[in-house]
Symmetry: C2
Subunit: 297 residues, 2 copies
């Protein structure tokens, strides 16, 4: 099967599971939770949870709640990132952001609810007998570290709070900072997706380390590609364009140029493919690595 | 030992553990996390975690990370509640609120970080061999439901978003709503505190049910007492006063009068004491029930 078709098929499977795990009532918060989760997106993180499990002998059914947990956390982070006090974005994927549609209080609470529910979904994994409780605990620990202060939130904090102060820094310091931001804000959750899936499936340390390194490399490459797209992509495809520039954000193209950024990203993809050599059936992850730098939106 | 001395002693123990589990660096988010956690408070929820465990044969050491997780979640909820888009409070326990001191972005992120880290602390419980992994998973599930959409966040949403619309409702509808808000926004986390501790200690269903009912009753009584204090207490002791009235919030005194509210609260305390009759060494919980309605701040 071609990668694009495979991603679409997996995406539909995940969409159905997401709906099942969301509240079904018509309260403002439930509507806001559903609105942001159902706004589309590539479902990259859930697909990586499933792929991490599959490569280590696990099943889709076994990790589906965890896959949805990763999408819940990714979505909550977008809702809070878009808030007026943070990036102050009006559009996300071509649609009004959560606070534009439901008000700021509802957006904050819907984000909080998705984050909290993500950990409920991790516990739900234990209902499947294939998931040994100690593995559920380990996977929950991996997720909470990656999403927390030492991971995604740390990166988001540096990105938001130091906005507009970059011109005061030396190039070498700025390069170190942008790598830290992308590794924590984006790569950490991508790494966690693969490792959560692998952990539930009972992976060896070697397998988990390999997937973690692969995740680090594609995560960083993915974010560099995002920075480039923010400058070059068609606004209609992306749903927004140039908001990094408007927000005076530090980006790879600003420090390395567009061509330099492309080269860096290709180097990371090559490394990522090397990381997963130990798996026999990793062609999907290999193709995915290429897809990440070649995507148009 | 007198209850007040016991609470102080336990509070100091918990304060030391909280510091140990907080990030130690000087980033803005780490400072904001420490600031709100260290702003004081009665540490009621952590004490209840320990008490729930103790009554079911557990040890303090075994549940200390979970006790801190409950305080992390309680504190994050206060930080987000105080935000301009929510209750818009400038003071909390007599000190500037998080967003007043660190800015809105940092306050949102510090809250997110405390919530996420709470679930990391739940995983940390598994490092203690007394905590069987399946009990850690069960306790994590209890906490995520109580703190989430069906619990605390649901109550907070109704409280914040329906602010100022109460006069349009019938008294009986308003009475139903205020009970729902207090049960979800306050009682749910108090119940979870007791049940999390009990679950880790390997409690029976009967023990968990008893503690859950006790928690419901003291939780509701606690919040009614809070509503009364908001109207009557010394501003210096409380750190703020009358902000419920300023925010046009629905309260028990507004619906039942101060005397009616006191009677309701005493009835709940009596029920709470009945709930824990099956425990032989529950004198601390009995005294605590009385303390909750008698406290002055």
């Amino acid at each position: 099967m071609k990668l694009v078709d495979y991603l679409k098929q997996q995406g539909r499977l995940i969409d159905r599971a997401l709906i099942k795990f969301l509240p079904a009532d018509n309260s403002l918060i439930a509507c806001a939770m559903r609105y942001s989760i159902c706004a589309g997106g590539k479902r990259l993180r859930p697909i990586l949870v499933i792929e991490g499990a599959r490569l280590c002998g696990g099943t889709v059914a076994q990790v589906l709640p965890a896959a949805c947990a990763l999408e819940f956390i990714h979505t909550y982070s977008l809702i809070h990132d878009d808030l007026p006090a943070m990036d102050n974005d009006d559009l996300r994927r071509g649609k009004p952001t959560s606070h534009k549609k439901f008000g700021e209080a509802a957006a904050i609470l819907a984000g909080d609810a998705l984050l909290t529910d993500a950990f409920r979904l991790m516990s739900v994994c234990a209902d499947n007998k294939r998931n040994r409780p100690e593995r559920v605990v380990e996977a929950t620990a991996v997720l909470s570290v990656a999403a927390g202060y030492r991971g995604m939130i740390g990166g988001q904090a540096k990105d938001t709070i130091e906005q507009g102060t970059w011109h005061k820094k030396s190039i070498s310091l700025a390069k170190r900072d942008i790598e830290y931001i992308h590794l924590t804000k984006t790569a950490a959750l991508i790494q966690a997706s693969l490792v959560v899936g692998a952990t539930l499936a009972g992976a060896t340390s070697l397998q988990k380390t390999a997937l973690n390194s692969y995740g680090r490399n594609i995560g960083l490459a993915f974010q560099i590609a995002d920075d480039i797209l923010d400058l070059t992509a068609d606004k209609k495809l992306l749903g927004k364009r140039g908001s990094d520039r408007e927000n005076n954000k530090l980006t790879y193209p600003a420090l390395y140029g567009i061509e330099g950024s492309r080269q860096l990203s290709e180097k990371l993809i090559k490394e990522a493919k090397g990381n997963i050599r130990l798996f026999k059936q990793a062609s999907m992850l290999e193709q995915l690595a290429d897809y990440i730098v070649e995507r148009k939106y």
